[in-house]
């Protein structure tokens, strides 16, 4: 590995970079917990007691743990999909809309195929959810691949379109005819995800996700040419091009793949938790997925941990808001905080490590 003298400085820099890089998610979590405690203090709640309750009500006993896992499932599903897109440098902000479309597609499929023997309705509903999510991501993907139109704005705006569209469907053709609530009828039992433990909401989707999807996506992103292609495109598209990779195809692939995962996430909620499609199917899982994907360092294992953390904060905040009379919005607040801290830290680290290549010119101004 070259002469020790020469490599020593570099090795030290790399070590510092690695420590910073690996520890930043922990710092971000700690920082947001600290800010959380401060806020609790400011609104007159003992922060120690508040945090303890928060922790207890998300991980304190078996029931809470399973509930947290159930909550983590849609977040994790969305986030694993976003991992592919973000790895390739494609910023899909539209997971929320893709989730809604996937959910409504899964619900419609399940309801209309309910007469078939299980597990056919369930499987078809999941496929329908995933495909619908992927198709919802198609226009931004095509616009980006063909005309280079920034995907952030298109995917973001399609969230609103999706949510309004679903709301229209639920107030109209899909409305429950007996209750007249803006929601579909309850799904036929043949399409329900089986529950794992009697008395708990923990369902097969959660188990499948943690036991199958996480290892599978890990394998794909870290151990297959598909994942490697994405990371190459994300880190240097120009090099990828001269290695013979078709950039446009990669953009299409990742955007639609992340849409597929978001759609599955919607199907999961519909067939496993809510058992019908409702206009409030997601309290922002699509957005939480962004924070979780970044917090998890675009690594499935990290993302799994981050999604459990996020789910714990969401669930815990519901409980403590009742017990301690703390406003329920603390979950949304933490989520927003995390996203700001994570994005900020992520970009700052990148800038700090690039500072070595400081520009030569005092002032920019053309010239050869």
């Amino acid at each position: 590995m070259g002469s020790g003298e020469e490599g020593a400085v570099e090795r030290a820099i790399v070590r510092r970079y690695r420590i910073l890089y690996m520890s930043y998610p922990v710092i971000a979590v700690a920082l947001s917990i600290a800010i959380l405690a401060l806020v609790m203090y400011l609104i007159g709640v003992d922060p120690i007691k508040g945090l303890r309750t928060l922790f207890y009500s998300s991980f304190g006993n078996a029931y809470y743990v399973t509930e947290t896992l159930v909550r983590a499932t849609p977040i994790l599903m969305v986030s694993l999909g976003l991992m592919f897109a973000f790895s390739a440098g494609v910023w899909n902000i539209g997971a929320e809309g893709q989730l809604y479309i996937g959910g409504v597609a899964a619900a419609v499929t399940a309801i209309s195929l309910g007469w078939l023997p299980p597990p056919i309705p369930l499987i078809v509903a999941w496929v329908a959810g995933g495909v619908a999510g992927a198709l919802w991501a198609f226009p931004p993907a095509a616009l980006k691949a063909k005309y280079g139109i920034n995907e952030v704005f298109t995917t973001l705006m399609l969230n609103y379109v999706a949510i309004y569209f679903v709301s229209y469907l639920l107030h109209g053709p899909l409305m429950n005819p007996t209750t007249l609530f803006p929601e579909t009828v309850t799904l036929p039992e043949s399409s329900w995800l089986p529950r794992v433990v009697p008395g708990y909401r923990l369902h097969a989707g959660t188990i499948a996700l943690f036991a199958v999807f996480v290892p599978l996506t890990y394998l794909v992103i870290k151990r297959t040419p598909v994942g490697f292609n994405l990371r190459l495109v994300g880190s240097n598209p120009e090099l990828a091009r001269s290695c013979g990779i078709n950039i446009g195809r990669q953009v299409m692939l990742t955007l639609m793949l992340s849409g597929f995962f978001a759609g599955l996430s919607g199907a999961n909620e519909v067939t496993g938790v809510v058992l019908k499609m409702r206009p409030d199917i997601s309290p922002g899982y699509g957005y939480m997925g962004i924070a979780v994907a970044l917090l998890g360092r675009l690594n499935p294992v990290g993302i799994a941990l981050a999604s459990i953390f996020m789910a714990g904060v969401v669930n815990g905040s519901y409980t403590i808001s009742m017990m301690l009379k703390i406003p329920i919005g603390i979950a949304q607040f933490t989520q927003g905080l995390l996203i700001v801290i994570i994005t900020l830290g992520e970009l700052l680290i990148r800038r700090l490590t690039e500072a070595r290549k400081a520009p030569v010119e005092l002032k920019p101004g053309g010239g050869g």
Binding site: E10, R11, R223, R231, R241, S242, K363, G368
Partner: protein, 521 residues
């Protein structure tokens, strides 16, 4: 170095630069102690090859760059410019090779842009019509008429240049630096520019014309300074005493064509073509023909050096061969297979390796690790990938071997490439490309910015390849490198191969540089 400027010089010289040294981060020494002076009301040509340091020296004078050593005296006062605005205050302005104009603005808007205003009232109001009239009158007064209401993006190159010059004059600049102004002009426009420059001189302006063309220097200069590899090679007080060939020799300098450790040329009789380019036409990014009717033949077991001034179609030629840029017309045949317009992956798999000029842009991904960068062209193939799975252990093993064999100094094989030095990045790229067992290699400025050790390493590797029967296309602006390594030399100028030397030993350097500089065609 600290010679005092005499009183007489103070009266005569508007600018005196002494002992200017400039080292770029990364170690490239651009200027190695240059003395340069400008007299009031002269047209001074700064002549030299690409990379001689002309632009760097002028950027220092114009305040865009700071010198590491040396001093600059302007109008009798020692100065330390922090920005182009500082230089502008003393009447120094520069027209860069790339225009600093805003395409969507009108000519008048571009000219008044950022002009230091007096008084709030003037700052607020911008009466387009009054302004346009003022600019029109001004441009006619100085003899460079323009249409002030024209959109800048619609102007031809010569007019844009005129707008840049006018902008400097409008700011009352009296020392005008023009960096390679003729490189983008048609001969007719060059004539007009020179006429205008003479007019400006008559009005007492001092003009520096940076160029690499001896003919132009002789056509207009009052005095000439020739730069060569960061040093002053000659100062010519009276251009009447010298001719084009003499200047060309001064620019290129004494060269010795030595060949290192080359085994003799492979049997000439049975040489097989590895790469054939026929009547190729390629557009550049702006849609202008950069390669126009280029023919080239590269044989197995040789290094063909493509000599030429940067920007004569080299980049577009390479991109067309690689499949990164679709040619308009022509045929490219690689190892007997026509590859014109074929996708990159297909071309690579035929056995084409590429050592790109822009290492960080096209050579490596700085975020990925050393090991990953080493297999970036073959991780999807046997033996690194079997049954859809990548064998990470094998990749690491391979990377360790490559790091050892090519002496790549890296913290470890898992660290991101951004922590490697330029020389080691180049070693990494070469290790990767050679591991593909290529039959044709394109090397683009393979030693630019490298230190002596790394340069020698690259040279050895290229010769080793050739000795193994690989065809090497060496594209370099460094004539020494071309002469040292090549079996044959092709000269590229204006998007065409204008001359091929089959025997390097017998080359007349003066003639070669005349071909390169476009004096001879």
């Amino acid at each position: 170095m600290q010679t005092r400027v005499s009183g007489r010089e103070l009266l005569r010289d508007v600018v005196v630069m002494e002992g200017i040294v400039k080292v770029y981060p990364g170690g490239t020494v651009a200027l190695r102690g240059v003395d340069f002076s400008l007299r009031y009301g002269e047209i001074h040509c700064l002549l030299g090859e690409n990379g001689a340091g002309k632009t760097t020296l002028m950027k220092i004078l114009a305040g865009s760059l700071r010198p590491d050593l040396g001093r600059v005296v302007v109008k009798g006062e020692e100065v330390r410019f922090r920005s182009p605005a500082d230089a502008a205050k003393l009447g120094i302005g520069m027209v860069h090779q790339h225009f600093s104009l805003i395409p969507s603005f009108t000519v008048a808007e571009n000219i008044v842009l950022g002009y230091p205003e007096e008084g709030v009232r003037q700052k607020l109001k911008l009466d387009i019509e009054v302004l346009a009239e003022e600019i029109r009158r001004f441009s006619e007064d100085v003899g460079l008429p323009v249409n002030p209401n024209a959109l800048t993006r619609e102007l031809p190159a010569g007019m844009k240049q005129r707008v840049e010059i006018l902008r400097l004059l409008y700011r009352r600049a009296d020392v005008l630096i023009l960096d390679e102004p003729t490189s983008i002009l048609t001969p007719l426009e060059v004539g007009e520019l020179f006429k205008a420059l003479r007019k400006l001189k008559a009005q007492g302006k001092t003009i520096v014309l940076v160029t690499h063309k001896p003919r132009e220097a002789l056509a207009i200069a009052d005095r000439i300074t020739v730069l060569r590899r960061g040093r002053v090679a000659a100062r010519i007080e009276d251009p009447g005493e010298i001719d084009e060939s003499g200047l060309a020799e001064l620019i290129v300098g004494e060269r010795v064509a030595t060949s290192v450790s080359k085994v003799g040329n492979l049997a000439r009789g049975v040489r097989r073509p590895a790469l054939t380019v026929k009547d190729l036409y390629v557009l550049d990014d702006r849609g202008v023909e950069a390669v126009k009717g280029l023919d080239l033949e590269l044989y197995e077991g040789e290094i063909l050096g493509v000599a030429g001034v940067v920007g004569n179609g080299q980049r577009e030629l390479v991109e067309a061969i690689l499949g990164l840029r679709r040619p308009v017309k022509g045929r490219i045949t690689l190892l007997g297979v026509e590859v014109t317009g074929k996708p990159v992956g297909e071309v690579i798999s035929l056995g084409l390796a590429y050592i790109p000029e822009e290492r960080l842009l096209r050579g490596v991904s700085t975020e990925l690790s050393v090991a990953e960068n080493l297999v970036v062209k073959q991780y999807g193939k046997e033996p690194f990938c079997r049954r859809y799975l990548i064998n990470v252990k094998l990749i690491k093993e391979f990377a360790r071997g490559a790091v050892r064999e090519y002496n790549i100094v890296a913290p470890d094989i898992n660290s991101p490439v951004k922590f490697l030095s330029g020389g080691n990045i180049q070693r990494l790229i070469i290790a990767r490309e050679l591991s593909l067992n290529p039959r044709v290699v394109i090397a683009e400025q393979p030693t630019a910015g490298l230190d002596v050790k790394a340069t020698n390493f690259v040279h050895e590797k290229l010769i080793e390849l050739r000795n193994r029967g690989v065809a090497v296309l060496l594209i370099s602006a460094d004539l020494d490198e071309i002469l040292k390594l090549s079996d044959r030399i092709a000269v590229i100028s204006g998007g065409r191969i204008v001359k091929v030397y089959d025997c390097v030993e017998a080359i007349d350097l003066r003639e070669l540089s005349e071909y390169m500089l476009g004096i001879r065609r």
